[in-house]
């Protein structure tokens, strides 16, 4: 998708977390790099947790027409 480059997706975030942990585990990162990586890792973990949270609230079933109605109502409210 075109927005992959701009906003992180769940899978790119996970992949980046793995990379960060591998780098930290290697013990080669200096103090500054370690702290920066930890900071970045924390925000990515937070992002992933939000994504998982979004699909953990309980299965919601909608019929397509209901969704369309809801979306149209949302648009008119916004307008």
């Amino acid at each position: 998708m075109s927005d992959v480059a701009t906003a992180p997706s769940y899978e790119t975030a996970c992949a980046r977390i793995e990379t960060i942990i591998a780098r930290l585990d290697s013990g080669e990162a200096g103090l500054r790099e370690t702290l920066e990586l930890c900071q970045e890792g924390r925000s990515l973990v937070e992002f992933c947790a939000t994504e998982l949270e979004a699909v953990g609230q309980g299965l919601e079933e909608l019929r397509l027409d209901e969704l369309v109605t809801r979306l149209e109502a949302g648009r008119s409210e916004a307008a």
């Binding site: 942990i21 103090l31 309980g58 369309v68």
Partner: protein, 462 residues
Amino acid sequence: MYDVPDSPAGIPGSGLTGPWPVGHYAAKLRSRLREFARVQVFGEVFGFKAGRAKVWFELRDASGALPCSMWRREWDALGIGELADGAQVVAAGGCDYYAGSRASSPQFSFTVTGVRVAGEGDLLAQMERLRRALYAEGLTEPQKRLHRPALPRVVGVVTGEGGKARDDVLAGLRRRGWAGRVVWAFAPVQDRHAAPAITRALQDLAACEEVEVIVVARGGGSLADLFAFCDETLCRTVALLRVPVVSSVGHHTDHTLIDDVAAVACSTPTHAAEAAVPVDCGAARAALHGHAARLERQSRRAIVDRARTLARLSRAPAHHVAKHRTRLHQQLRELRASARRGIAAGERTNHASAAALARNGRAAELGTTRGGQRARLDAAALDRAAATARDRRRRDLGRLAVALAAHDPQRTLERGYALVEGADGEPVTTAAAAAAQPELSLRLHDGSVRVRPHGGVPSEAG
């Protein structure tokens, strides 16, 4: 009328003939069926199986079906090989009935004696043509190039409203631990209205921006049942949708065209749901907790380890000084102990030497005393011996002097004798020798006088 001696009584009140032994009736049935006109029939082949003696298949069309069998030897002689489902054939033959027995089941079949393959079945042929066209146009690729989100929040599903596939999709989503939003787009999935309705449902779902992936699911059925999913318009629509489509149509042996153009084709609706949500949410949550914990641990360790190192480094100089101080103290103690040991050993040696010296002194003193005494004794003895020797030598000397004086020629000369000496001073003792000398010296006790011999006669008395 047959004679049936052991026949049981019939059903009271029944107006039908019999009861007949079933084998007898089955044999009659076979005879009657074999009397049916032998014909040619055509349809699509399904479930072709080749046994050791016979081959079996069904001939089907939209309105009916017929179980068929053919001797394996005759089938092999045709050289057709195995028939795929859906292949359209013309079969020549007639009805037959295997009457069975106590140990085997009866079976009706259309016994085929000749087969002509009428090309691919209509449906299969249409499908194959369209498949080739879709591949040629590259329409099987666009869906596969689409990004499929690992964790979609909204999943669209196109399926029959009352079908089992609906429950299977939900079961698959639950198995993933996924509890997001499912948007149902119900559509008929097997009549002639199915394809346009499914196409519309797909388009509508794709038009909703929040739908991230679409599952198209339908349970198993005949090729004709599933043919809606081979519709050209439907397939072209799927190929060009912006949203990835996961298809699951029919059983795993069925292969419809939507499977070719979809991003992913699955064998069951449950698998399709799992493919639509690739992440196992439960496992992902656990993994995420693990990642978070590791990050915290790493972060803390990075600081704590360095703080420890710093503390260790800052302690190092004092530690070294203390270490050296301890070593110096130790060495000092050792030095003192060593000195004490040395002094004690020296004192012991000195004492021993002093004792030895004292012993030696005493011994020397004793020796000196004894020596003095002995010397004094020796001196007295020597004095005595010397006096004795002196006296003896004095007496011997006197005696010798007397003897010597007795032998002195001077004394002889003094008594009136003279000594005759030659010119060379040597004594001349014979008259001949004196006569031979030109000059003689006569030595008297008070001096010498020179004389000349004048011949001479040797004295007889002599």
